[in-house]
Symmetry: C2
Subunit: 419 residues, 2 copies
């Protein structure tokens, strides 16, 4: 048996009411894309028997494998097991083994759950393999039906993800017929149009690029036929070289991790002085495990009093040039270096909105300063968008500015100041 | 014409490859739920003509209204317009008016786009209303077909959202037959099982509660029939009263906003001293517009040197009890009060992982201290989950601890220390 087409059926009224964001779909899509397969469809239905049965029947008639997510819990609106049994013409049967596993799981966490709830979740689909759930009570099922494989998985993301990796992909991968090979290069610091021009100039026939601009970086995706892996690897290397120094290293999961690698390699320490981002730069930097090797701390100087008293920005500078000025940013960097004694610094001040803008200094105006030893760079940026957007873009622009300044031979770009 | 059922068709291979998270669906679901309507289905298809046509045809045969999201851009894989025209048996025609609007939009942003791209996006579906897009180039369409209304909207979220609110809902609402009335109460500081017990004790026939635990709070949703609005309002008030002081005020969008309301009303100032959260508490507090009324700043003391030198935690305390100890937290709070001169403080120290845990102090151990004037509370918590999860839960637990301490008559709960 080989699998060419996979689709997903998500169940749960909460997804259609917008109470829950469907993160499982995107996560599964990425996992399958890494195996060279694209989902051919996803259908989301409420917790209603007829809608579920209709969607499941259509999916099974269309695709080689169908993954159903959700609806395996203990409550009345958890219908997946019984709808699947009905459609496949199979029985549900109580499994003492599964019930014992659920009791062990609950006891291990000191939880007390009514026996009725345990009974509901220990019914198994006869003729299917039970998939163990290490992070919850509801098991999953792998069922080889007449024309298709049906997989049932619980909806809570940490249960779902662990079961996909531990139980589903090992069974699925040997059956998959890969449709493509993909590579990704993440780029920060130049606009998408320039990225595209550079990428197009490095293409070879058989590889197709696509672009996706995100707040953190521009993602360049290169796709080739499944058996063109060596070609894809060659083109990826060419593109990565052409995009230096803007391309993030392949082994850095995020911009913050890329900054961390450079600081660690050079034995430098870092602190931030933040106004409009309110600690957001420090929070992203400390997302990275092991950041205590280089990250020392931050002063969030939201009020002018803090800028003056705890970063030593002279009151005269604040009065004359304002908190959002190059002079203030340079003073904040000096304060980090002299008072706090760190080798590198990031200073941020800006007008995130919605209030506080003036004709001279409108909402979206942000100044970012970086220090690497005695070297300083201060940039004035103008971001579009609401408060969240301005703050988020500022955080990533600040990280990338420091990253560029930490690179051995930095090519400074005058572009991309208006984003 | 009345609309009982609405479904959504999302187009875009990026959604199925997991390159993009489908935030449009959840957002639209919430907007419609506020009008008493639940989407009956969502289908996501790749940018392929046959899959799109198949999904669209099925949706139009099933539901009174179909909203198609995405695929209206200028590139070859933007097929929505032409697939819709084919299925409805209508023509596409170039609109000079739409083209002129696109040119104006691009000129206003100083952008240069090839005429071919403008031409592709200025084709209109004959016999439909053009929906203006104030944030992008591709217009939308509102098309009354034989048995259903078909709405085509662009996929970029800021374009999509503005058009739903500005163009679609005003046309849709008068036609909708509401199916339910809903209310939400957000609760922080007690476990879900206790919330459920309190809520069940306040129910009246005709209202059904549902619960959803999120990192920030537990969301209690009350649902009644569409014409039972007055009953729902009465029950909501009863439940809200029964859940005091744990219920967030109805007019506070977030926990940080609720804290801000209390600080502003009492004329208090706040600063944070953060270790494991790395500025995350300050970043969330400064998400709230106008927070400069009460939020002064933060010291992110990630290293012990910063705790000692910039929060005046005695080296002896750090040596003897460690950075993750009640003694250190109390010193951090004292440092905020004496050195930084704020009325209220939040101090956080913990082991977020993945490294750094010991048998005595395992990953997930977090201490949270809050100060309101001279009053202090220090709690020891144990969070499950990975680094992200531990940090996120810590941020919200810290905000809620301060919120409870700022309430006029706080009922302190001994529960919920293990989450």
């Amino acid at each position: 048996m080989t699998i060419h087409t996979i689709e997903v059926v998500c169940t749960g009224s909460e997804l259609l009411l917008g109470d829950t964001l469907n993160t499982n779909l995107a996560w599964l899509g990425q996992e399958l894309a890494a195996s060279g397969t694209q989902l051919v469809r996803e259908t989301c239905v409420p917790d209603e028997r007829s809608a579920m049965a209709d969607a499941l029947r259509a999916a099974l008639s269309r695709s080689d494998a169908v993954i159903v997510i959700g609806g395996l819990g203990p409550t009345r609106d958890d219908l997946t097991r019984s709808v699947a049994a009905e459609i496949l013409g199979r029985e549900l049967a109580a499994s003492e083994e599964v019930a014992a596993g659920i009791r062990r799981f609950l006891q291990g966490r000191g939880l007390n759950v009514p026996e009725a709830a345990i009974a509901a979740q220990s019914e198994v689909l006869v003729g299917s393999e039970v998939l163990a759930n290490g992070n919850g009570t509801a098991p999953g099922f792998w069922c080889v039906a007449d024309a298709a494989i049906l997989v049932l998985l619980p909806g809570p993301p940490h249960e779902f993800r662990a079961m996909v990796r531990g139980e589903v992909l090992p069974r699925l991968r040997p059956l998959l017929v890969p449709q493509f090979a993909r590579a990704e290069i993440r780029v920060a610091g130049i606009p998408e149009s320039q990225v595209a021009a550079i990428v197009e100039g490095s293409m070879l026939a058989g590889v197709v690029p696509a672009y996706c601009a995100k707040p953190e970086c521009i993602s360049v995706r290169l796709e080739a036929r499944a058996n063109d892996g060596p070609l894809l690897a060659r083109v990826t290397q060419r593109v990565r070289r052409a995009l230096a120094p803007y391309a993030l290293p392949a082994d850095a999961a995020t911009l913050a991790a890329a900054v961390g690698q450079l600081l660690r390699a050079q034995g430098l320490t870092l602190a931030t002085a933040e106004s409009c981002t309110g600690g957001g730069v420090a929070a992203i930097l400390t997302d990275v495990p092991g950041c205590s090797d280089y990250f020392e701390g931050a002063v969030v100087s939201y009020s002018n009093r803090w800028k003056r008293d705890f970063l030593d920005v002279p009151g005269e500078i604040l009065d004359r040039f304002g908190a959002v000025s190059e002079e203030t940013i340079r003073s904040m960097l000096d304060g980090l270096a002299t008072r706090y004694g760190v080798g590198c610094g990031i200073a941020v001040s800006g007008i995130a909105g919605p209030g506080g803008g003036t004709p001279d200094k409108p909402v979206g105006l942000v100044l970012i300063g970086t220090a690497v030893g005695p070297a300083r760079q201060v940039r004035t940026l103008h971001f579009r968008g609401d408060r969240d957007e301005v703050r988020r873009r500022t955080v990533f622009a600040a990280l990338n500015q420091l990253r560029m300044n930490l690179l051995p031979q930095t090519v400074h770009s005058a572009a991309a100041n208006h984003q």
